[in-house]
Symmetry: C2
């Protein structure tokens, strides 16, 4: 019978061999964490390789994503649908084993990781989701949702600022079922971390209210076991950090404990020496049957799930409505009342009263929180400005079954936690901050977009309209920079009606994160017939057109600048044939047929003006060489919004001037 | 004689009155921190209101920038050139008193603050700069550089992840002369922070190796004094955190201790009640003479500076070369050998050998660190990939007088610290990470751009050329998103020669931060005559043109795609009349005369192709409606760089195909 070291060595050599074969990858961390992984995955992790999506599985997040081969080895050894050939294709184009774990690409990968610290944040989100979902659905005797979230992190994850944000929140929220293993090998890419990080990590995490178990020998299965038992049997509600002292590239005679083992293959010679040192007599990619046997978790996985399923079936019988609701949420189905609610919102809000689009958003949230209990969101300490807190909001720190998270001043942590909540299923997460501070969490927005998950971002105070707070608080380039992120949907509605449609898209698009870019200031409501309201769905549409005539100039505007275009239209309609196109969502407009796009922006009408209180440069796509862009390519100023709009040319008067000039030059 | 409370109340009421008058602002924090400010500014801060730029002044950073009126009140009261009328113009367009402190706008404002946590990071950078500069220039008996850096921070600053990154590094680097005052009022915008942050801040900062003085009554001048004395007389080399318990909006009978006092004027009634409560019998903006007198620091400031100047003059006599060098550095003058060095680099590197542009950058750094001792930079734990560590690099954690900073895995902290180093004067800072992780520090890049400070960013691994690490590590939208930031110069050189010019611009542009976007992979060196090398300075130039003929199509490329355009030119030159424009820096090209721009991109040549391994959309500006963009508007894949370039169409073959198609459609 193979020893536990042999079982851990199976991970080591699958990792080493795959990295050697691809001639690229990170052997150090998988070799260092193999013993920990062996204990966790063989003795504790509750999962089923036959069904990676089993609802009540423990979640495992590899925050040090460069440790990918460790995870792939585990998945292969325990019996997931990941063959030895898949491992041989490590880092090959379109393989199931990319360089860093990718969600939806490999079975059981719960989150795409690699950008350091974000996996840990995702895990905090998952642990929050587990806690809230269990409070919402469990019944006495029926803990349908009841599992752990385990995380592997490295030095890099803990040096990143995001680790502070999310671990502080995890401590405050008492996420007891979050258990983090810190690969304390003392080495980062530049060398011994003592040179640039002298943190007392035990003390640091205790300051967050965590249960910390320090000085665990990360190569001694008994010590690892004792630590895990202690964390799982904790009587308090603290999350646990297990500080495991490990040796990077454990087993390599000449490279262990050295930074050169982090991100490069060991090399042929060192691989041979490591085989010798660890007494691993098998050829590359060969794993003896007895080792496979000891690792295989398919039977026990089926048993675990079966036991749960029996319980769940009882639950479904006793609580049919509740279990239907749980299934609805896990399946991402919207309630039957959803479309009626949107319809009613469109009817109830379609009047002449003006409001800011952030107020409109609040009004919408006010209504939809009642029919979408899966909404779980909050703001980074700007609830009263982002208007995310509504009368039905229940903060989870007070109400376990709640729907609101006070994220504190933690934009990046918030967004990455929210990604975790979305990945968990069962929730529609939303987050909020000022648009300008979106920059703090940009990398997490990118990760949501890369993973194609539904996640809604409310970014208010969307332009120089911020006013007196000045240039540090006034977004200029942020809106355009969001539009550059692939897969991200960006909506900047011009009034309350467009805000409803934007929210509808955000909720209905299952595989798209959506940014809602909202105004601080009050905006007039445009007049539209039913057909016109429908056309908002296309992302860009004709809001105003000359009566029975073809237009000779097109004004394209978004958000708070649309009413200026409409007012210009009204003032000049007897003089020029003007079309006003409202373009709340460029990415949505781009998805329409070429025919529709030509209909809105006919190629023969080359006189065009784009009007948007932000960076100009993305508008050339629609404006061409004969048009003009009224935008801002510099930072703003502290002053009243009214004065700033005048200063930067966002007035009807200035738009008229530009139109006159364009016609003059053109003719 | 006014009491110390009266002196502090002068700050309170100037703040309250200015905020009332502008009907906008944040009264809570200035009212809460007034007593601390009174003690620090009157008893300890070594400054001279007559000369805000005195070299050896203590630096004061207001990291909670919304507390702006506290700072403006202090500047007015102590005698800086900031009149009562300036205070009355608080938050008015183009006033000297914007909503958040702005560098270069108000005397003595050392850094633009507001985005939370970044001021603290700037202060860490300033404290590093002070420490290194003093090690480089002080002589026994002549501590020419010898001052404190004081910082005010709020709860928001400490919740932000960046506070973890920079305070961990500050502890490691033992920045003893950094003294931070934490306004521990327990309230953030959403309410009592206990609901979302239960940190034990004392323990947290002790885990970073700081000296922490907790439980200071922030309204008792004696207790504040004792704490400051303790911090200043510390025998260890620890930075100090003074946790001051304060009451938000201290003195307001109905709003103190409540979040409503954070970001809104107190209102007429509450202002009256506060006057009554604090026994302040003066009309708005009126400060009695005796209070002005007690606050005025002009005489003592002159004395302080004079004392230092006398010493400095001696120093100059004894160490003329050293003091000249110090003056050169403070004045941002480059050494006389600078241009020769660049010239020699251009001569020595102008051969056919290929190298990646990151290697070229390393070679340049290797040379220029010898003639520019003011270079002070490092990488976020990617030295061996970013190639920032050269033979002359001396890490400051080992060599106090060094020129290299091991930043650890802390991108955001790194960039904001680097802003502080730049603000200090005397250094040219640089930072480095993978381009894709630039997203982590984007807000600090924006701040460098807003403040118009010289700061050099080395971003390597600049495209899908990253290869096997996969989409989490492959930048797509990053390059274009940097180009959107106002005032930021972005260079993506195509070979080692363009890399030299890019570095030259980065060093010479005093008021511009510069991003150097560099390739991981090896790139061929282009052949250029002297005139062509000169033209690189324009940011965009004609690299190849048909012999004695006007071109009929223009290929515009940057960085690693330029050689593809050149190779296409070579293959097709007998068939089509092609111009190849290399455009390493769009922002620099845009600064040229219209005549030059027309010369490079004549408006009559509408057949154009842009080639860049990144987002397409910014290129429409140059491509117009008849051209084509070979770019990437989706995320990448894990796979070899070679395969990825083929997959995304970055091959000569594909460029030829596009050219053929364009000509076919056009004719």
């Amino acid at each position: 019978m193979p020893s536990r070291k042999d079982l851990a060595n199976a991970i080591r050599f699958l990792s080493i061999d795959a990295i050697e074969k691809s001639n690229s990858g990170h052997p150090g961390a998988p070799m260092g964490m193999a013993d920990i992984a062996e204990v966790l995955w063989r003795n504790y992790l509750s999962h089923n390789p036959n069904n990676p999506l089993w609802m009540n599985r423990d979640r495992f997040i590899l925050s040090n994503g460069h440790c990918a081969m460790l995870l792939y080895s585990l998945l292969h050894l325990t019996g997931y649908n990941l063959t030895i050939d898949d491992l041989k294709n490590f880092r090959k184009l379109h393989s199931k084993t990319p360089g860093h774990p990718e969600f939806q690409c490999t079975p059981s990968v719960e989150s795409s990781t690699g950008p350091l610290g974000q996996g840990l944040a995702n895990a905090v989100g998952i642990a929050i989701a587990e806690k809230v979902l269990s409070a919402q659905f469990n019944k006495p005797g029926y803990n349908i949702i009841d599992h752990y979230t385990y995380v592997f992190v490295g030095d890099g994850c803990l040096m990143e600022g995001i680790s502070h944000e999310v671990c502080s929140l995890a401590g405050t929220l008492k996420l007891k079922k979050l258990i983090v293993f810190y690969d304390n090998n003392g080495i980062s890419i530049d060398g011994n971390i003592k040179e640039w990080c002298m943190d007392n990590t035990k003390k640091r995490f205790e300051s967050y209210g965590w249960n910390v178990i320090a000085d665990i020998d990360g190569h001694n299965y008994k010590k690892i076991q004792i630590a895990i038992e202690q964390a799982r049997s904790l009587k308090t509600n603290q999350p646990s950090l297990l500080i495991c002292n490990t040796i990077l590239a454990y087993g390599s005679p000449n490279k262990s404990g050295k930074n050169i083992a982090h991100g490069m293959p060991l090399g042929v010679t060192e691989t041979l020496l490591t085989r010798k040192k660890l007494n691993w007599q098998f050829k590359p990619f060969y794993i003896p049957k007895e080792i496979y046997h000891q690792w295989n978790a398919k039977d026990i996985g089926n048993l675990r799930e079966l036991k749960w399923t029996n319980k769940y079936n009882e639950y479904c019988k006793i609580f049919p409505a509740l279990s239907d609701e749980l299934q609805r949420r896990i399946n991402h189905t919207l309630p039957t009342s959803w479309l009626t609610t949107i319809k009613n919102l469109l009817i109830n809000m379609d009047d002449a009263t003006s409001m800011s689009t952030r107020q409109a958003s609040q009004y919408i949230l006010e209504k939809i929180t009642y029919i979408l209990p899966e909404l779980l969101g909050g703001s980074a300490d700007l609830a009263s400005s982002n208007l995310t807190l509504v009368s039905n909001s229940k903060p989870i720190n007070k109400f376990l079954y709640g729907n609101y998270i006070h994220y504190g001043v933690r934009e990046f942590g918030m967004m990455a936690i929210s990604n975790g909540i979305s990945l968990y299923n069962g929730f529609i997460p939303y987050t909020a901050t000022f648009l300008v501070f979106m920059d703090y969490c940009r990398s997490a927005i990118r990760m949501a977009s890369l993973m194609k998950i539904r996640n809604i971002m409310i970014y208010t105070h969307d332009s120089i309209g911020v006013g007196e707070d000045g240039p540090t608080h006034q977004p200029i380039e942020q809106l355009s920079s969001l539009r550059l992120i692939p897969n991200l949907s960006v909506w900047r509605p011009c009034d309350k009606i467009e805000t409803i449609i934007a929210w509808q898209h955000a909720i209905e698009n299952l595989h798209t994160p959506t940014s809602l870019i909202l105004s601080r200031q009050i905006l007039p409501t445009q007049i539209r017939n039913k057909e016109k309201i429908e056309s908002i769905h296309y992302g860009g549409y004709i809001l105003k057109d000359p009566l029975d005539q073809l237009p000779e100039i097109i004004l394209i505007a978004t958000g708070s600048e649309v009413y200026l275009a409409v007012e210009t239209f009204n003032q000049l309609s007897s003089k020029y044939k003007i079309r006003v196109v409202s373009m709340p969502s460029i990415d949505t407009f781009e998805k329409q047929t070429q025919e529709y796009k030509n209909h809105v922006l006919p190629s023969n009408i080359t006189l065009r003006i784009a009007i948007e209180a932000g960076s100009k440069d993305l508008w050339y796509k629609y404006i061409g060489t004969k048009g003009h862009i009224i935008g801002i390519n510099q930072f703003g100023y502290s002053g009243s919004a009214e004065k700033l709009f005048v200063k930067f040319g966002f007035t009807v008067q200035n738009i008229i001037k530009v139109i006159e000039k364009l016609f003059k030059n053109y003719t």
